[in-house]
């Protein structure tokens, strides 16, 4: 067996799978190496919620038996991974990143865990998160049972939230991939800050059964990985109809790169101002270079405008109303006061006061937003924006403090695309695209519902022209 070098910790899924199938390394050796690395470095970034050593090694030995008999189960067979600690794994704590739930144990697996288990993926860890996925409106990165998520590129910076652990663990090479969640920005933000490729799937494509609910009509689960191709392979496994998830779209996803449309046929909406005046000054050079790479792929970049709606208030009302109902027992019992972040506690308590008329109005405005995006995507194939306007903020920053402000009168560009995309259930792919102040920055490609193959094709093309997704931080 070959020794496990650093390259393997940062290898893509097909690269690792090829070495397993060629018997250059066993699943048990691979899993043990990742477990040791998680144990050694996970706490350094506050990325680790729970190590699953015994379960992972047992599963790895099963995979080795399958490989020995040439029972191949696909690209994810034998690949270790981590899951955000809001995804239940039977018999082990699922804390939702929050003290009141520190001892919570479910007796069943989330559907995504079962689906990954079926193809021989090996869960090695539960990964940290902002408490209750941050729905109450947290103001500090420290709003977590495991402390502030620290960025592998610079531990004085935040790894982003609420999927802090999945992003940091993938960035630091502690897992080849991870499953996180997004209600509004919880995949896009940490992936952008940590410089990893990630996919927020269309609402309903991936079952949320067994995952903590924050907002039934907004929650999505999705992968953090090394490349767009990895995201496609993972999505193919975890997507699909699930009668246990009332929001399930009843659709499968087949990763079909061979049927991607030629780049020159694609019309992509963007606003130049998002990459210049609306971007933080240190990030502008990286965004300019990234835009050139996108243009060189042959796509048509067309100036466009985000449809005008009060996205923030609409999303906030829906989230608050649904969250208040979901966490009413926590709030009325008084245990909400055990949370780490006082503004989050206040936000949860206040969420019980959303008038029904306001929730209904927000859901009706949401219908208009959906219709408008259906019209928008009859003209464009995707939207291109920065993932975030700049790199990761300080780990001790007040997240409510106003950040960079563009000059007065600056056009809005696609500001609000995170809220808009989540309200309309749109998929988004995050692609690392360079560095600012030695920290990663990223692009975000948003498409119409169920257009994941199109987004992944754009991502693959971009990543064939750049190597930002292969950059790795100094770990240790």
């Amino acid at each position: 067996m070959a020794a496990i070098g650093d390259d393997l910790f940062f290898a893509t899924i097909p690269e690792i799978n090829a070495r397993l199938k060629a018997k250059e390394i066993s699943a048990e050796e691979l899993t043990r190496a990742f477990l040791d690395r998680l144990q050694q470095y996970g706490p350094r970034y506050n990325a680790l919620a729970l190590l699953l050593r015994q379960e992972a090694l047992r599963k790895a030995r099963d995979v080795d038996q399958d490989l020995k008999r040439e029972r191949f189960r696909g690209a994810l067979q034998g690949i270790p991974y981590g899951a955000k600690d809001l995804i239940s794994y039977a018999g082990q704590p699922t804390t939702w990143g929050a003290k009141p739930y520190a001892a919570q144990v479910f007796d069943y697996n989330a559907t995504v865990i079962d689906k990954l288990d079926d193809v021989g993926s090996i869960i090695t860890a539960k990964l940290s998160m902002v408490e209750l996925a941050g729905g109450g409106g947290y103001t500090r990165a420290s709003a977590s049972l495991t402390g502030p998520g620290l960025n592998p590129w610079d531990r004085t910076r935040w790894s982003g939230g609420s999927s802090s652990g999945p992003a940091a663990a993938v960035a630091a090479g502690l897992v080849p991939f991870a499953i996180g969640s997004e209600t509004s920005g919880s995949i896009v933000t940490p992936a952008s800050f940590c410089g990893v490729t990630a996919l927020r799937p269309t609402y309903g494509l991936v079952s949320r059964h067994g995952a903590m609910a924050l907002s039934w009509t907004l929650d999505k689960l999705g992968p953090f990985a090394r490349s767009a191709e990895d995201c496609g392979l993972i999505l193919q496994t975890i997507a699909g109809k699930d009668s246990n998830d009332p929001g399930s779209a009843g659709k499968s996803f087949y990763y079909t790169p061979q049927y991607a449309r030629p780049m020159k046929e694609l019309k992509i909406a963007y606003a130049a101002v998002d990459f210049t005046d609306r971007a933080e000054p240190p990030a502008r050079a990286a965004f300019a270079t990234a835009l050139e790479a996108v243009k060189a792929s042959g796509v048509q970049l067309v100036e466009a405008k985000l449809p005008v709606f009060p996205y923030g208030p609409t999303l906030s009302l829906i989230l608050n109303a649904e969250m208040g109902s979901i966490f009413e027992p926590l709030i009325t019992s008084g245990r909400v006061d055990e949370l780490a972040d006082p503004p989050q506690i206040a936000g949860l308590k206040a969420s019980l006061s959303v008038p029904a008329k306001d929730y209904l109005k927000a859901m009706r405005v949401r219908r208009l937003i959906q219709r408008e995006f259906a019209r928008f995507f009859s003209e464009y194939d995707a939207i291109l924006t920065p993932g975030r306007p700049g790199p990761a903020v300080a780990a001790n920053a007040d997240l409510d403090a106003p950040g960079y402000q563009p000059p007065a009168g600056t056009a809005p560009g696609f500001q609000g695309i995170i809220q808009a995309g989540n309200l309309a259930g749109l998929p988004a792919l995050v692609l690392p695209c360079g560095f600012a102040d030695n920290l990663p920055v990223a692009l975000q490609v948003v498409g119409l519902p169920f257009s994941e193959n199109q987004l992944l094709a754009i991502g693959r093309e971009f990543q064939s022209r750049t190597d930002w997704h292969r950059r790795r931080p100094k770990v240790g």
């Binding site: 409106g137 269309t202 609402y203 309903g204 039934w216 009509t217 009332p246 929001g247 779209a249 709606f309 009060p310 923030g312 208030p313 609409t314 906030s316 009302l317 608050n320 006082p342 503004p343 506690i345 206040a346 936000g347 308590k349 206040a350 969420s351 006061s353 959303v354 008038p355 008329k357 306001d358 209904l360 109005k361 927000a362 859901m363 009706r364 405005v365 949401r366 219908r367 208009l368 959906q370 309309a424 259930g425 749109l426 519902p449 169920f450």
Partner: protein, 60 residues
């Protein structure tokens, strides 16, 4: 620094003026409720035709 009568008057009036300015709620829960109400007020201004039903069950 010479203190003019105008500056003195302004200095004396400042606390009173500050007291008259609406302050953010000291109670963080009330402040969060105020934000929810403000969001509702914004949406109240959006004209939605009668036949636009709420997005239940939400489907992308």
């Amino acid at each position: 620094m010479k203190l003019t009568r105008r500056k003195l008057a302004a200095a004396l009036l400042a606390p009173a003026a500050a007291a008259q300015t609406p302050q953010p709620a000291a109670d963080p829960v009330q402040a969060a409720r105020d934000r929810i109400k403000a969001n509702g007020d914004i949406l109240a201004k959006v004209d939605v035709p009668m036949d636009v039903e709420p997005a239940f069950q939400f489907k992308a």
